[in-house]
Point group: C2
Chain length 443, copies 2
């Protein structure tokens, strides 16, 4: 909500939320739609959505003048969809919700979801110029509530869209678990010959610094114009609006709770950057779209009985027994450093080794990753690492814990345990790299 | 081991491991001790320890000449300890092992631990010029096997050293769990009025690129000369040898499995940098050494029945029951994004909320952090976050999951559950900051 003071100013100027207004101060003059305020923002900052789609915030003070230009449009849905050119590349947008799908109700100031394509084009008319958009509402599940059932549905819809003639697919997604979904899709989508771009936003469209608009239009441009045949995430590369990056799905991670540039490549570099105006620069190695037209296969079988557990000082190795007894078929351990668990029995310390050994003997596939996130696990440096490796656990190279987790669920859904075990430590789609470059740390 | 080719070259030159040699190639000429080779290194690179303590690696090739200058010294322990000046500040080195404590046996090429101070001074004579060193062997436990028992012992020994007249304390430690130890010490050491510096090395002293020497001498210089009254970690700030940084213990994390600059500040900046030659620059806010001489109190009670669990797609909330039934008194959840767990019951999704609620009702203290690591959890942005907060779980601001974990163990060892719960979300020693600066991301 705006401050009482500002509400009075609005009242005096005859201005309502949704009106086109002009705000003028000593330094600037802005024209646009007066946006409502959520509880998060500073109540004395006026938010204006400008014609170019950006929101601007102007701190109210004595020298700030507000003038009404036009009363707010009454938006009546359904609007007619925009004319789209069949000559533009066809891009399917699969809508799963998340912050990017939220819009502000001008009347109530509350946040609700965009579910109709007509609304999307109303908010971002540039979409119709970038591609021939086909819109599909896939699931309204919040990011934190996604499960493998949603992953399967998204994979199926992606394959369907591509086999139905789409040149690329954009998937809007909440940011919390977007990297889990991007990662599992890179395994589920076989013979992929098109860009599949997940995107979202860290700040909803009603906030002055929303990244929703640029992320979505950039994702659509990547899907329409890039020659990348991989699943990846397109989000802000920096905290300003100068460029977005496209990160390989299995190498991406949300590394900040709220920044717009929260998604970072781990042990990798972005595959490409997209500027504000849509120019694409390729910066990493990637699989290119081939000339042979192949059908995309959605291989969506998934074993949900896989756990992701952390090893740490004082940690209780009986957690392995817990999952084994519950019928779990795979466990990914986030170990310390080069892939350690507590290994020796010292004072109050308990070794994980006999528990891992027991799980492996019961055909549970156990993988070891590092909670450092960056770098590679390695069984050769220290004796304790070799002891752990000798239990039959698979050290997962430079794979992210999250990627190892969804990969193991996918492998156990499709292969026998011994095959899954062998494939876990081997690169399938770019999730394991032979070499991490010196500058691929904290990008 | 060196390659067969190199062994022959050494044989022809009459050179043995441990001899002082000169290696000359087109570009360089190096004099120093020929070091043995571990299994990790390139077998054709000659490792020479130079007088200044650094190791250099020279790739053997046709134009490389090797000349013996002096036969290796027969090191007979005990050596006499070096003369130390009582005029220098007294620094206690508490030796807990880890890679930094490893040395190479010239005869076997195997790695063993340095346990005698005489050996330490033999390897790093500069130590005697930096401080009046008092050496104490505290525990030979590998980093991955540390438990709260070792933490308690290290805290006791630190307080003892400081109250016995040491100006500062250096603790050598394996790197895997160094940040857990540094973090818990920041809670255990009360009325701290001196620098307590943890250090270690990512590469053992027999490797060309070892960071052991510079990290240890820099840590000693910080302990001897800085005006910081906090517990922190001193390790390489960059991948070259130009500077080391001192990071607040509760804000530090090992972010890479093998790089020398693996330790990074999270939601913080380094408190200080130390150059190669020992110059200290202060860059962050920190508690300064006060003029009042207070006794350092080791408040070491600790409740080990605390768990660190991760919430992720398809995760099983019954893990909460498991720990509650095992008598656990605290659980830290690594949530997604702003501090979410699965919250809605959708398709196959299961909400964590009733399980968290049940645990809280049984007086188990539940804290929520973010697996993003960077940024702050926030219960105000989304409805699901408020629902989670309403269960009685404590959202832990910008605290690292590892710090929240050791803090809760320490709190429950010393306070009643309701007090511990209140203190968990409140800053005690710098582990929670009111504001994260724009440039404190991926430093």
């Amino acid at each position: 909500m705006y401050s009482e003071k500002l509400e009075k100013v609005f009242g005096a100027a005859g201005v309502e939320i949704g009106d086109i207004i002009e705000v003028e101060s000593k330094d600037i003059k802005i024209e646009g739609t007066l946006m409502p305020k959520t509880e998060m923002g500073d109540p004395n900052t006026i938010i204006i959505k400008m014609k170019n789609g950006y929101n601007a915030g102007v701190l109210y003070g004595e020298n700030v003048k507000i003038r009404k230009l036009k009363s707010r449009e009454k938006i009546e849905f359904p609007l007619s969809p925009p004319k789209v050119s069949e000559k533009l590349p066809r891009v399917a947008i699969l809508w799963t919700g998340g912050t990017i799908g939220s819009k502000v109700e001008y009347k109530t100031g509350g946040v609700s979801m965009i579910v109709k394509p007509e609304e999307l084009f109303y908010y971002i008319p540039e979409l119709a110029e970038a591609a021939n958009i086909v819109f599909k509402d896939v699931s309204g599940v919040a990011s934190e509530d996604m499960t493998y059932i949603e992953w399967q549905r998204i994979a199926d819809e992606t394959a369907k869209a591509l086999n139905g003639g789409a040149r690329g697919v954009v998937i809007t997604h909440g940011t919390d678990t977007m990297h889990f979904t991007a990662s599992v899709l890179s395994f589920m989508l076989k013979d992929l010959n098109a860009p599949v771009v997940l995107t979202g936003s860290q700040r909803s469209g009603d906030r002055g610094s929303s990244d929703a608009f640029l992320n979505l239009i950039s994702a659509v441009r990547l899907a329409a114009n890039s020659n990348i045949a991989e699943v990846g995430i397109c989000m802000h590369a920096t905290s300003s609006d100068d460029k977005m990056h496209f990160i390989r799905g299995s190498k991406a991670r949300k590394m900040h709770t709220s920044r717009r540039d929260a998604f970072r490549p781990i042990n990798d570099r972005p595959i490409a950057y997209v500027t504000h105006s849509g120019d694409i620069t390729y910066t990493g190695d990637y699989r290119k779209i081939g000339t042979e037209h192949k059908k995309t296969i959605a291989s969506t079988k998934y074993e949900p009985k896989v756990a992701l557990v952390k090893a740490y000082p004082n940690s209780d190795p009986e957690i392995m027994d817990y999952y084994v007894e519950k019928g779990y078929r795979g466990i990914i351990i986030e170990g310390t450093g080069l892939g350690h668990t507590p290994t020796s029995v010292t004072h109050k310390g308990r070794s994980w080794l006999p528990f891992i050994e027991k799980a492996v003997q019961k055909k549970v596939v156990v993988g070891v990753t590092s909670q450092c996130l960056y770098g590679r696990v390695n069984t050769n440096v220290y004796r304790n690492l070799r002891l752990l490796s000798n239990t039959g656990a698979v050290h997962c190279e430079d794979m992210l814990p999250e990627t190892a987790y969804v990969k193991l669920g996918w492998l156990l859904g499709n292969y026998k345990p011994e095959e899954a075990k062998e494939m876990l430590g081997r690169n399938l789609t770019g999730e394991i790299k032979e070499r991490i470059r010196e500058d691929e740390f904290l990008i």
